[in-house]
């Protein structure tokens, strides 16, 4: 028995030796994203943005030398207990900077590992303030939940004329719970009532929660949950013939959601970072790239619709390169030092960090699903001052 295992391991240890060397010096960027679990779909789409950027800008010139940029992927399995080893994997590969993650919980879970290794991290779509709060190594290119929560609350109250909102989040998901809390604050400040409810993870049967919303006579069903759950909720809502609108955060901005809502009567609205069409050049390039790579297409949910998380992935990569160049070194510490001053104009707009390391964002896009055509429709660009 022991022999068997020993042999097996010996064999395993040998394999990586065959990895090919490259003539250009290599610079590693860690991609810390869920490829499996509840947020797997979103994580893959976000990763696509990074991969596309890497395909477009495979090399970068830093301090006179040109480096080949190599992406090191680590699947954090959308769960806080798998996160540490994923983070540790990136650290052990000596990446210069980490991009990610989709989902705030795993970002927080990985944070300390990057911190201890002195590697800066750039959050792409983790919107919970706690990710960057009280640390100097975590940055973020997207907006924050207090902002998004306010935007959603305003929209629900003013545009949808809602007075009662039923909020449903997943137990133990920091993104859901955070956004719901800020939404509740903002919405009740406006004079509405928000009822908060949670479901245990791996829930499939949402019918009773939908009944709850009706039971409370809610005007809006607010569920900023992972794609795994939001699709379920939409389909079951249509089965129960629910009239009230389903409102969600940036996680809902995905073609998976569109497919679920297509052909139903369920009204799905969400806030997001980017509206397809705002940057024609990127759109075309990205779609073309997807169509060339079938497995990328599958990772994007089977069609070439652009979800905002991909854009954020792209922008994160751009920001990272800018930081590397500004640092003039591939040492994590130097990059960390350079990041606060970095400013870039990219697909999702102008990116500049505030004292917390959060990109200063003043506007979010609101979009809704067209149930016939099965496409996102731009509703409004919401600003909060």
């Amino acid at each position: 028995m022991k022999k068997l295992i020993a042999l097996l391991l010996a064999a395993i240890m040998l394999v990586p030796v065959f990895a090919m060397a490259d003539d250009l010096p290599v610079l590693k960027i860690g991609v810390y994203e869920p490829a499996s679990g509840d947020s797997g779909a979103g994580g893959k789409q976000e990763t696509l943005g990074v991969q596309y950027a890497n395909a477009k800008m495979p090399t970068v010139e830093i301090g006179g030398t040109t480096y080949k940029v190599e992406l090191v992927m680590a699947d954090n399995g959308s769960s806080t207990d798998k996160a540490p080893s994923a983070a540790q994997k990136l650290v052990s590969e000596n990446v210069s900077v980490v991009l990610g993650s989709y989902g705030s919980g795993v970002s927080i879970a990985g944070s300390d590992y990057f911190k201890d290794a002195g590697i800066p991290a750039i959050g792409l779509t983790c919107t919970n303030p706690q990710v960057t709060a009280g640390n100097s190594h975590y940055f973020r290119v997207c907006f924050l939940d207090p902002f998004q929560g306010t935007v959603l609350a305003n929209y629900a109250y003013k545009e949808l004329g809602a007075t009662t909102v039923y909020c449903l989040g997943e137990l133990g998901n920091d993104y859901d719970q955070g956004l719901i809390t800020y939404f509740k604050q903002a919405f009740e400040a406006l004079g509405g009532t928000a009822i908060v409810d949670s479901f245990p993870n791996n829930t499939a049967d949402f019918t009773s929660y939908l009944s709850n919303a009706q039971g409370y006579n809610a005007d809006v069903f607010f569920c900023p949950v992972s794609l795994a759950y939001s699709t379920q909720i939409i389909q079951q809502a249509s089965a129960q013939g629910m009239e009230i609108a389903i409102l969600g955060g940036d996680t809902l901005d995905s073609n998976v959601v569109v497919d679920a809502a297509k052909g139903t009567t369920v009204k799905v609205i969400c806030t997001t970072f980017y509206q397809e069409g705002a940057n024609a050049e990127f759109d075309e390039g990205f779609k073309a790239w997807l169509n060339e790579n079938p497995d990328m297409m599958t990772n994007n949910g089977g069609n070439d619709m652009i979800s905002a998380v991909s854009v954020m992935g792209y922008d994160g990569y751009v920001t990272a390169l800018a930081a590397l160049q500004a640092a003039g070194s591939i040492k994590g510490a130097d990059v960390m030092a350079a990041l606060p001053a970095v400013e870039v104009d990219s697909v999702s707009g102008h990116i500049k960090f505030d004292g917390n390391g959060d990109a200063i964002r003043t506007s979010a896009f609101v979009k809704t699903v067209n149930n016939e055509t099965g496409a996102w429709e731009f509703v409004a660009e919401q600003k909060v001052d």
Binding site: G37, S198, P200, A204, Q240
Partner: protein
């Protein structure tokens, strides 16, 4: 008030029916092998995945469904032959560990195949249509389920009481060794049990995933455990017991999800207590109460083991 509770009952009945179909598999296997087949819930999940891929391959649905059931049955049969048969003489603990191993393997296999992403379950015409019952709207499957379950159970009970193999099953579940000595082909009986169990799990998965149409490797775990609880609750070895237990659990857990609203409507509480958190835990609380108070369950007959 009734209008408030009715939707929960509806959800409860439909999910209960689906639990029932899984629970029967548990109760039969336990009745014969005294083994908690931890992998049964995963067989149910695998059935769902198979449907996803077969339907994606573009076969017509009327062909998909029988095909899915066939493959599911094959899977169940193989599991028994590969993972349990070699351990026939081994202590119970090793068999149970093997069952856990199988469950682990199936989940990881599906994780690998699906890449860890939720898969959309194909829409099966008729049963996924929406119908209105009074105020509440629901899918056709919700109404179909209980009747289908009852029909299947009746058929099963007939099979067990009227046919030769059924008699053999009863004999084996009464006394394994003796019936072996009496020349009953134990392995055939056990295989048949697994085949029936997997078949029902397959049917259950079709109903379940039509209602809640996404499949992921963990989809089977919770329904599996709850179905087992149902089986114990109804009395291990008793098929009607399993079915009744399943319906009770299905209804209760949905009532609990809605308890906040109900109490809210009754004016007992002003703000929700978040009791929905306990919708899963409740089943297990019930399990433990039953095990402690009446280990034989509602309809189980006493199993006397020799001192």
């Amino acid at each position: 008030m009734w209008d408030t509770i009715f939707p929960y009952l509806l959800s409860g009945v439909s999910v209960g029916g689906q639990y029932a179909l899984i629970a029967i598999g548990y109760t039969m296997v336990y009745g014969i092998l005294r083994l908690i087949n931890f992998a049964h819930g995963d067989v149910f999940m695998v059935a769902g995945i198979i449907m996803v891929y077969i339907a994606a391959s573009g076969l017509p649905l009327w062909l998909c469904i029988p095909l899915v059931l066939l493959i599911t049955v094959a899977v169940g049969f193989l599991i028994e032959r590969v993972a349990y048969k070699p351990l026939r003489s081994a202590p119970r603990m090793s068999v149970m560990i093997s069952a856990i191993g199988v469950s682990y393997t199936l989940q990881n296999l599906v994780l690998y195949i699906t890449g860890g992403l939720n898969k959309q379950y194909p829409k099966i015409p008729w049963i996924s249509e929406t119908v209105a019952i009074g105020a509440a709207k629901t899918k056709m499957v919700t109404i179909v389920t209980p009747f289908l379950v009852i029909a299947l159970v009746v058929a099963l009970v007939l099979l067990i009481n009227k046919t030769k193999i059924g008699m053999a099953m009863r004999a084996v579940s009464k006394d394994f060794e003796t019936s072996q000595l009496m020349g009953i082909k134990i392995n055939n009986v056990i295989s048949t049990t697994f085949i029936i169990g997997s078949f029902l799990a397959g049917v259950g998965s079709i109903l379940f995933f039509t209602n809640y149409p996404t499949v992921i490797q963990t989809s089977g775990a919770m329904p599996g455990l709850k179905a087992f609880v149902a089986a114990v609750f109804g009395g291990i070895g008793s098929i009607p017991g399993a079915v009744i237990g399943a319906f009770i659990i299905g209804i209760m857990e949905n009532i609990i999800k809605g308890l906040d609203v109900i109490l809210f409507k009754l004016g007992v509480i002003e703000a929700p207590l978040g009791l929905a958190t306990f919708s899963d835990a409740f089943s297990f609380a019930l399990l433990i109460i039953i095990l402690v108070v009446k280990p034989t369950g509602l309809f189980g007959e006493k199993v006397t083991d020799k001192v």
